[in-house]
Symmetry: C2
Subunit: 825 residues, 2 copies
């Protein structure tokens, strides 16, 4: 799996290490250079290498950035360089304290990568000036580790996902080391706190190794951190309780020389890597016990090497070092003086020559080519991305002799196809979910794979489909599922996340960060496209029979479409064949977030595979077989649906209408690709106004049955000609303990109410069909009453099928794949 230019011998032990004085001094020079370049980025507009005395004009007018964590990051980067080079160890980094952005830019500049990707950042005085100037400057680069930073797969934005991303990167990369720095602030977040347990899911043979380094610098913006303020033995217990072997390193709190510190750390790092190599060796030799992987506690002062006190207040070693310690350096001469001596303390003249070139001895610390962490192709996953070998989804089609003529649990059909996706792609496709892959009806994948698990086993009586290696990862943490999948995708692989619809909101903010990452990388030429992030939300708002109101929320779609149209897609396949077609499209796509909502309960199939492909290709369309239009005439009313339950109710309403008002011309439209409703100017999938009018008409009433909150449809269509004729029925936060049909009735999305809507909105019907209207009201009351007496839906509703299917033999109507066992929701 290795992709480095120099083929590494993975997981060498460190016998070749040479921790002589020269090496330690080289490490120190790198560290000083990286620190100098970091301070320079934060403060300097000009005079980058202090060729002339520092004046206020050399200082940026707006000082923006984060200093406190940066020197620690630089220290670790320097030391990792040494061991990577010595061991030829394929390594990427994940920087939890990503606001220390200048450090990673500095390191990439020192090893030559930065200039490779940004040729304008030359290796001379002028290049250093540009490097400094661009940092957190209008039109420049962000202050955080970002997509713009070579070597990064982890934005320094929201905190909490460093370890999840790291493990995602490690899966199926058996020779890769993921050095992961966790800030002690970040360590307080929930997602990070549980992500330590990832070590029970990683396989020591087939997966790579995550080396967590807890950067205990003690402070956040304005407070101490929790983990820095508990007893040492408590912290050790915690790390052991998380399943790690901790190595504790403390430095910077006394007068110990930097060379001595480097010596101690380098020795420890060799030990740690030797331990890892030994664990890997044992695992290859068949040892199946769960390793206690090493981790490092790295306790140093915050803002290490910065000014100790500013205006008499302790700065280094306190929260005051978090951001920009000398915020008024431009306007306060004393502060400018502190800045000058701070910059000079790194002795840049020893590190750069007279033209501003980096001392070759510094660069010699770094490995070469793709072994440089800044230039490791795993961190630009699109470089490594291979197309999935997808089986032909048409071959998995369910038979649909007539519309409604068979019944399936759609995700179960999808599962059949995914089973073969896994079979054909044994090492670059994974399914993630919080304990729900079977519940979401994808269980046939367990014919060819297992759930990967490296904690204890209890035996086959209770451990079904659980194995040390497998393509499915389940942990009851949506944050972990999302974070693992993101890490997996960002390093050039494929996958999907299946989740309850309501609880996907748990990762709303993670979605935000990933969507922003995709949007930004679209504009970075050297970043290569990665596989899309695919959701399957199959326990949805309309069928929370076991759970009720607390499990009902269809708003993730609303959240998603706030992001740039170029990176988000939303699909509501109405049946099994459309789901297959949709998902085939999703797994082929790049650089998107695809949200697919498809219920898991038995439901009728309406489209043959050919029809499904045509329908999905258009994204929406008229279902002529369901309507009662007369060729060449305009319909009286349009019934539209997006979502499986709404589609069923719309068809049932259309059925009532054709029986009760035979001369009413009804058009039935089904929407798979929600983005089609938008204006072509707003979304690449959007319909032109002309196309929209051709479908929905500009002047006929449109009754739109929608899976989610109704106003989303208004939001997508408010500029359309016929918008004032559009009436949307959707979820109104009116759930309670109900049966399925009672649930749609509560939200006025039911067939009877849709018929009432038609009567109320088609002018000529109003008075003439008062009787039908009353019957519909009565039918609702009767159905409601039935549920309260019998605890089930009224059979004529529950067992309703589209009339064409009524003629079929019962035997044909039940898809053989439907479970008769317990409903494991």
């Amino acid at each position: 799996m290795s992709t480095t230019t120099t083929a590494p011998t993975a997981w060498r032990a460190g016998s070749g290490s040479t921790l002589d004085q020269e090496t330690l001094e080289r490490i120190d020079k790198w560290w000083r250079a990286a620190n100098y370049l970091s301070v320079g980025q934060i403060y300097l507009l000009d005079n980058p290498l202090l060729r002339e005395p520092l004046t206020r004009e050399h200082v940026k007018p707006r000082l923006l950035g984060h200093w406190g964590t940066t020197t620690g990051l630089n220290f670790l980067y320097a030391h990792l360089n040494r061991v990577i080079k010595e061991r030829l160890q394929d390594t990427i980094y994940v920087i939890g304290p990503g606001h220390g952005g200048p450090g990673l830019v500095a390191s990439a500049y020192l090893d030559g990568t930065y200039t490779k990707y940004y040729p304008d950042m030359t290796e001379d005085d002028e290049g250093v000036r540009r490097l400094f100037r661009q940092f957190s400057f209008p039109g420049g680069i962000p202050s955080h580790v970002a997509p713009e930073t070579p070597g990064s797969i982890h934005e320094g934005g929201e905190l909490g996902y460093a370890l999840s991303h790291a493990y995602g990167a490690a899966f199926d990369n058996p020779d890769l080391l993921v050095a992961t720095i966790i800030g002690d602030g970040e360590a307080e977040t929930g997602p990070l706190a549980t992500s330590w347990h990832s070590n029970k899911f990683v396989n020591p043979v087939n997966d790579g190794v995550v080396l967590p380094i807890l950067h205990l610098n003690g402070y956040k913006i304005a407070n101490p951190t929790v983990l820095a303020r508990i007893d040492d033995d408590e912290l050790t217990d915690l790390m052991q309780g998380y399943g790690h072997k901790p190595h504790v390193f403390v430095a910077g709190f006394d007068d110990e020389s930097h060379i001595s510190i480097h010596g101690r750390f380098a020795t420890m790092l060799d030990e740690v890597l030797d331990e890892i190599a030994e664990i890997k060796r044992r695992a290859h030799d068949g040892d199946e016990s769960r390793p206690r992987w090493p981790m490092i506690v790295f306790r140093t002062p915050k803002g290490w090497t910065g000014p100790d006190y500013i205006d008499g207040k302790k700065t280094t070693g306190s929260w005051r070092a978090h951001q920009v310690p000398l915020a008024n350096a431009r306007d306060t001469p004393e502060h400018l003086e502190v800045l000058r001596s701070w910059l000079e303390s790194y002795r840049a003249h020893e590190l750069f020559d007279d033209e501003g070139r980096i001392d070759p001895d510094i660069r010699a610390l770094a490995p070469e080519g793709h072994l440089r962490m800044s230039d490791n192709p795993h961190a630009n996953g699109g470089l490594l991305l291979k197309d999935l070998r997808l089986p032909d989804f048409r071959e998995y089609a369910v038979d649909v002799p007539v519309p409604g003529g068979s019944i399936s649990e759609a995700p179960r059909i999808l599962g059949n196809w995914l089973t073969d996706v896994i079979r054909r792609n044994p090492d670059n496709f994974r399914i993630f979910g919080p304990d729900e892959t079977a519940s979401n009806r994808l269980q046939s994948v367990f014919e060819v794979t297992d759930k990967q698990w490296n904690a204890q086993f209890e035996g086959p009586e209770v451990d079904e489909h659980l194995a040390r290696a497998g393509r499915v990862l389940e942990m009851l943490s949506e944050h972990q599922c999302q974070g693992w999948l993101e890490g997996y995708l960002l390093t050039g692989r494929h996958g999907l996340f299946n989740c309850y619809e309501a609880f996907i909101h748990i990762i709303d903010s993670m979605f935000n960060q990933h969507a922003k990452w995709l949007k930004v990388t679209n504009d970075i030429p050297w970043r290569r496209p990665i596989a899309s992030l695919n959701y399957l939300l199959s326990s949805h708002v309309w069928r929370q029979d076991h759970n009720g109101f607390s499990h009902q929320d269809p708003g993730f779609v609303d959240h998603v479409i706030n992001k740039k149209a170029e990176v988000v897609r939303v699909y509501f396949p109405p049946d099994a064949n459309t789901l297959l077609s949709t998902y085939d499209h999703c797994l082929r796509s790049r650089q998107y977030v695809n949200v697919v909502v498809s219920g898991k309960q038995p439901a009728p199939n309406f489209l043959t595979m050919d029809q499904a492909i045509a329908h999905c290709t258009r994204g929406l369309g008229i279902w002529e077989w369901a309507g009662t239009e007369v060729e060449g005439e305009k319909p009286d009313v349009v019934l539209a649906a997006a979502g499986d339950v709404p589609t069923l109710e719309v068809l049932a309403a259309a059925d009532i209408l054709r029986r009760e008002i035979p001369d009413l011309q009804v058009r039935v439209i089904n929407v798979v690709d929600l983005m089609r409703l938008q204006d072509a100017r707003e979304h690449p999938h959007g319909l032109s106004d002309k196309e929209f009018d051709g479908l929905f008409t500009a002047d006929r009433p449109v009754i739109f049955a929608y899976h989610g909150y109704p106003w989303l449809i208004h939001r997508l269509t408010y500029r359309r000609n016929g918008h004032q004729h559009l009436h949307v029925r959707g979820y109104k936060e009116e759930g309670t303990t109900t049966t399925p049909f009672d649930m749609v009735m509560l939200n006025d999305l039911d067939r009877f109410h849709l018929v009432i809507d038609v009567i109320d909105r088609v002018d000529r019907l109003g008075a003439a069909y008062a009787g039908l209207r009353q019957r519909m009201q009565d039918a609702r009351l009767e159905a409601r009453e039935y549920t309260r007496t019998h605890g089930d839906d009224i059979p004529e509703v529950r067992d309703w099928v589209w009339p064409d299917a009524q003629d079929q033999a019962d035997a044909n109507m039940v898809d053989a794949t439907i479970s008769t066992g317990g409903d494991n929701e």
Copy 2:
């Protein structure tokens, strides 16, 4: 602080315990009765006490619920009853595995509370029948612990917040024990994983005690749990690492008699409560060391007391017991038989008399009155809620001699008022935030209080405003802040959560659950209204100078308004005085979620306090001083704004227009209360169409500058008459590394673009003002170019003030409260 009917002697040691055979048998009878009532709720439609042979007609047609966790919950409830009664210990419960809802209903029925609140659930055969029937049945109660469950403050919906809620309940309730059951599934979530660290924030003297009970039943829906599959010493290390003293209890895996098990657990529980009493005593005596609070690991089989095997598959002690083990009991005679013998195993005839009354000896286990966990007033917080003693916010007004005539950081002014709110309400108001209370400019509260912290201290050089007791709680976990605040509010207190706007999405799903809780409790007569949940989002999308694109997302408001109008409110106060007025309103309100967005950067004040009060009372209004309308005529164009930055840009645009097109009649509208835009039929704050037209006109162009995503304004107004004339400018996900004005330009929200919008949309201007239009374009380019050269905004924009303020002396223009120190974002 105690509110029990029998005044408890808090934190007694357990010398009075009587673990004789009679007591243990009483515990066992309670347990059997609760288990029987739980199974009955899940399965039985009729024949509740098996007076006749069980037939399929007695079984519910749809079996919905969760069995696996229930007997463990019942076991713990029974044992807690004993110690509460013996020690008169004020106690509430928090049930993390809340899907075990039938257990809590059963327990409340056994102690008499259920019949108290639901008189229809009588204590006889018919009452038991109704109790069973209603469970997870149309029109009945949810299958989870829910607002409908007496004694609950914690919905059994989304998992992860049991400990956060528990600690929220414990703060400022020094005599309260919060018995908190954590499922081992839930324990895998991120929020739960970090919430263990709450013990570093609770004060042993002034706060109550949380007793975490980790219910290690080993399985989730379809998988083992992580914590049940690590070594015992690893789990012990983890709990010790979290700062607890673990007590491990294992039962149910062998033939030990239930009486023996009860004896062991009761003895251990006495030890645990004695330890707690001892810790409390030491703390009262002045011991300031952080206690290692006890916690219990409670390892039992999942589905304990249920059928061991069903159809030859291991059920009890496996994931198969999670939901409804005999899902086809109605239609499979063998399963019906298993159900019969399962039900009979509890020997209900020994527990209920011939009329269905509970054996008085069982009830005697429970404490009395408000000591019953089901009837503890802390769990119906509105009962205990006291109005805050609010200082008159008018007295904190900033001076605004003319519009724009002073400058403030609005949250800093709010902080002055909050300082006195804290002073006057020393034990029922708290501020929560993830390390940002000072950054968000509320730092003056530290004049009267501190950040509560019970981990290590390092001394005054670095620990500013950190103390063992204080009204501010800061941990770098939005989940914890939200969970603590929810627990605090639900137990009848007040508070606010200050957070970065972008990262409040982290708790989107928690907001959902809380909003649903509020909506449901509005319809439960015995639930009393609680204080609103107040957000202050003051590091907002438009000023992420230090952080950039990854920190920009104004979509929380979109998320919030998906919930029922009756429980959500959103405010955009444009300056300091309006913020004061708004927040006074929020802290007085009940049963809402109030979202207040207000920037923290220095910005002009526009309204005097009297004007601010009038403006906030209306929620929106015409700012006549800013417009150029002629009395009695209709304006040519309406410029509207919601949000502080948009308000500034609209005013600057109005300034340009009055200078450049003096005869143009411009109306300036400012919106504080976003819900006013909605239809009166949609939201209680909504304007009627007539009012709306009176403000916005039905036919004039409206240029609306909005803080967030523009389509939200369309969504709120799409039914309004003038909607087709509405043009919204807002955030478009176009941020990058910029200066503040560059940021608004990137999103076309800037003054120059607003003027262009006016020219383009007021018909008569188009051609005549092509020159002005060009100048505006040029001004944008010039401003953009300036930022890229100087790294700062162009001074004529940055220093612009409303013309009325121009005449003032400079000295009057700067509010003395503005910091000159570092910008601690």
